[in-house]
């Protein structure tokens, strides 16, 4: 009886812990929903709807631009056949558009992939190490340019010299377009030179350390052929004019 009594006590203690744990889980289970209902949701649901609506509109506008550019290209090709002067100018324009990032570019290069950690940080972890920050993307783009990249894109966005990479809380924006992880940074250039130089750079080695310790994704791959999309920006300046 004494033994059974002690065992019973242990079981009751275990029962208490389990009940408490169950209660805690139950509370945590419903807590986000309750908070959502009172604090952010009505406002956030509306904001998310506006955000998605704008993304849809921008996606449609982007497609219209691509279609119009294709149509313009066809008209220019027809025009080039009628006059030598038009042909020479059209060819020069094609080169300038490519240089300005207004044309899709394909060639050998590298792909750097970064993504948030698959592991949930514990209470003792600093969650900053588990996510990809906008600064990481800026640094990788800068490294790619340093080692000879001729054209760069992050996911579906062409990154030009004036492309801003910013964050709004946990959301990263490139060319004012929302990016979702994984962040696939594609660069045209010498694959050997780019991959070797990037992977030997201290910044990339720090990211690899985060990968090993915090399970973020960080990789660089050489590719025989990659494609970066054209920029959809208008080339004309509003404030800067040609100086004499």
């Amino acid at each position: 009886m004494i033994t059974r009594g002690r065992t019973g006590g242990v079981f009751l203690a275990a029962l208490f812990v389990m009940v408490a744990g169950f209660g805690y889980l139950l509370a945590v289970q419903f807590e986000p929903t309750v908070n959502n209902a009172y604090v952010v949701p009505a406002q956030n649901v509306e904001l998310v709807e506006i955000m998605k609506g704008l993304e849809k509109e921008n996606g449609s506008a982007a497609q219209r631009i691509v279609d119009l550019r294709t149509q313009l290209g066809e008209l220019e090709s027809k025009g080039a056949a009628t006059s030598d002067e038009v042909r020479v100018l059209t060819q020069e324009l094609g080169e300038l558009r490519a240089k300005a990032g207004l044309a899709e570019a394909t060639g050998p290069g590298v792909i750097v992939t970064l993504s948030d950690s698959s592991r949930t940080p514990t209470l003792s972890d600093d969650p900053n190490y588990f996510v990809i920050h906008d600064g990481y993307l800026r640094s990788i783009v800068n490294l790619m340019r340093r080692y000879g990249a001729t054209a760069i894109a992050i996911n579906d966005q062409r990154v030009l010299g004036n492309s801003a990479i910013i964050c709004a809380g946990p959301i990263i924006l490139v060319n004012s377009s929302r990016m979702s992880p994984p962040y696939v940074i594609t660069a045209l250039g010498n694959p050997e030179m780019l991959a070797d130089s990037i992977s030997q750079d201290v910044f990339f080695q720090v990211l690899e350390m985060y990968r090993d310790q915090f399970k973020i994704t960080c990789s660089v791959e050489k590719k025989t052929s990659v494609t970066v999309p054209a920029s959809l920006d208008n080339a004309a300046f509003k404030y800067a004019v040609g100086a004499q």
Binding site: N44, V45, L47, M51, A61, A100, N162, F237, A240
Partner: protein, 223 residues
């Protein structure tokens, strides 16, 4: 007649198993809810969402400008299909715009000049890091800069900037501190963008790196 019943001990064990089952049942659900909350935008700070919406609205305007421009070019081409001179004019005009964009010609316009000085004296001199410089340039682009030069070196689409010892390398060319950053563009917006509390100027200030911002009516940036 023998009465079949449970002892208190059996009941305790039964309850224990039931609770264990429910805990096991809820645990994955809890993990899933938390993960989904993080992934959806419903749980985020409304200020962040408003920032994203403003950027998307700006993007919409930018795309509209390009769509209108290309559309007009198509119309002009269709109208001037038999007019070689008109086609030449249109092509030459676009080539001029693109030469300005690609850094082939010097440009001028209103803008801001930021002079950045490190503190070289004292026990612990301050030093501008690559990330500081990239953040400064990024904030300028984000707030309406069209053309930027560092100590007179114009940045292009392929420009990289990084520290090399005490020097700064821009496109492989070596330049020294203090760094004069000229940016042609929306002067008001660029000034505001840099001076956001917690922004890049505050960051530089905290790190004892001096940054003086001046509005300039006419800046000239060479090719």
């Amino acid at each position: 007649m023998k009465r079949i019943g449970r002892s208190p001990w059996q009941s305790t064990i039964l309850i224990f198993f039931l609770i264990s089952f429910f805990v096991g049942f809820f645990l994955p659900g809890q993990a899933r809810v938390v993960r989904e909350m993080k992934q959806t935008y419903q749980s985020q700070d409304p200020k962040d969402l408003i920032r994203v919406i403003r950027d998307l609205q700006q993007r919409k305007q930018d795309l509209l400008v390009e769509e209108t421009d290309v559309s007009q070019k198509v119309m002009q081409y269709l109208r001037s299909s038999d007019d070689t001179a008109a086609q030449v004019r249109q092509l030459q005009h676009e080539a001029t715009v693109l030469r300005q964009r690609t850094g082939a010609v010097p440009l001028a316009g209103p803008g801001i000049r930021i002079t950045i000085r490190e503190q070289s004296s004292g026990a612990s001199p301050s030093m501008l890091a690559d990330e500081d410089l990239l953040l400064l340039l990024n904030d300028l682009w984000a707030s309406g800069a069209e053309v930027i030069s560092l100590n007179g070196i114009r940045l292009t689409d392929s420009s990289s900037v990084y520290r090399a010892g005490l020097n700064v390398r821009v496109d492989g060319r070596v330049t020294q501190m203090p760094l004069v950053v000229d940016a042609i563009g929306d002067t008001e917006n660029m000034s505001k963008g840099l001076q956001i509390p917690g922004g890049v100027l505050d960051l530089l200030n905290l790190r004892r790196i001096g940054a003086i911002v001046q509005k300039v009516n006419l800046l000239r940036i060479s090719d």
